[in-house]
Subunit: 211 residues, 2 copies
């Protein structure tokens, strides 16, 4: 159940318009800056491209001993021996994924409501990503989740809960009342001028608001 312990800063990637090299350099810098968990999230790639990119990212996360999760695709996760997957509400159900990936894989799930959170936890999710707390530019379709709901979810489940959605240095303090286990960010690191420093500073800030 508690595979993810004390991993406050969770980076969810977005390749944006970076070149492959620039993208990988950012992941490397972010890991060096202290990112505790990385999720590779790709929506537009062919399976071959997703596999190749995941393989390249895995070399980096391995170097820093940071667990790598793959968004949506169990097969890509298996192909690169990633630590696990992150599953949204439009992906393969958590219990089906658990049957395929086995007990050791990390399986995370997106939950926007208490009902979704309880179901994911019952089905065997290892953590929840809850949001979007603030509007985000990296997801086209954004359903908002309030800090109140975030707190309710945190109190209702016994697996780690991550706040996600538009969170950055300027607004992350807002999640403090929910006493979540960590914060997941995309733009705050992927668009930062200096991703290493951004990760370092965000991590300190997140530790202070999650303790």
């Amino acid at each position: 159940m508690m595979k993810i312990k004390k991993r406050p800063l969770y980076l969810v990637t977005d390749a944006l318009n970076y070149s492959e090299t620039a993208f990988l350099k950012r992941i490397d810098a972010a890991c060096q800056g202290g990112v505790d968990l990385v999720q590779l999230r790709e929506k537009e790639l062919t399976s071959l491209q997703y596999f190749q990119r995941a393989y390249a990212v895995k070399q980096i996360t391995d170097k820093y001993q940071v667990p790598l999760l793959i968004d949506d695709r169990l097969d890509i996760a298996q192909a690169v021996k990633a630590a696990g997957v992150h599953l949204g509400q439009k992906d393969i159900p958590v219990e089906v994924a658990r049957r395929i990936l086995g007990p050791d894989a990390i399986i995370g799930a997106t939950a926007k409501t208490l009902k979704q959170a309880r179901l994911a936890a019952e089905e065997g999710a290892d953590y929840l990503g809850v949001g979007a707390i603030f509007p985000t530019t990296t997801h086209v379709e954004t359903v908002r989740t309030s800090v109140d709901t975030l707190r309710t979810i945190k109190q209702a489940v016994n697996i780690p809960v991550y706040a996600i959605g538009g969170l950055n240095a300027a607004n992350v303090d807002a999640v403090q009342p929910a006493k979540v286990d960590g914060v997941a960010v995309v733009s705050a690191i992927m668009k930062a001028r200096d991703p290493l420093t951004a990760a370092q500073q965000l991590r300190q800030q997140i530790i202070s608001v999650t303790q």
Copy 2:
């Protein structure tokens, strides 16, 4: 190596604009008509939708004891316990898929050239789909393969070879010189007025041109 024996008529699905019910009825009718192998091919669905549709199709193919293959997605194949996958040139490589799915899974590969065919066979593909022999309306991007190349490939590999691409009752005789093991069709069944009869007649015709 020879997991696929004497399965001349291979149906590759296209849901077109059918309702879910109408689509499934067509698969059922096609299986009843004698289809020997079914590949579920979806490009636009979410993972959850692909999984749900694959699950529904699996109930039908099981009823007729027809092996079901899933296009591209190893995880969907595992989730519904399909017989295997079909991999295009933009999908996870055959050798990686073999490592994940194990020796018993059927892994098919698309080959448009002799080079691709040899590589796929070396990597452990169980059969090849070679084409497009004729122009097709179900693939946006169509690279043509001649009957000459089809014959060269068939002579070069020791796994079953299927001709694919715009093949139907009116033109399937054209592949006869290549002495392939079977023919894969999409529109000839998915768009047929009567898919059961279409499958029956096509199968007889394919047997006569592949022997």
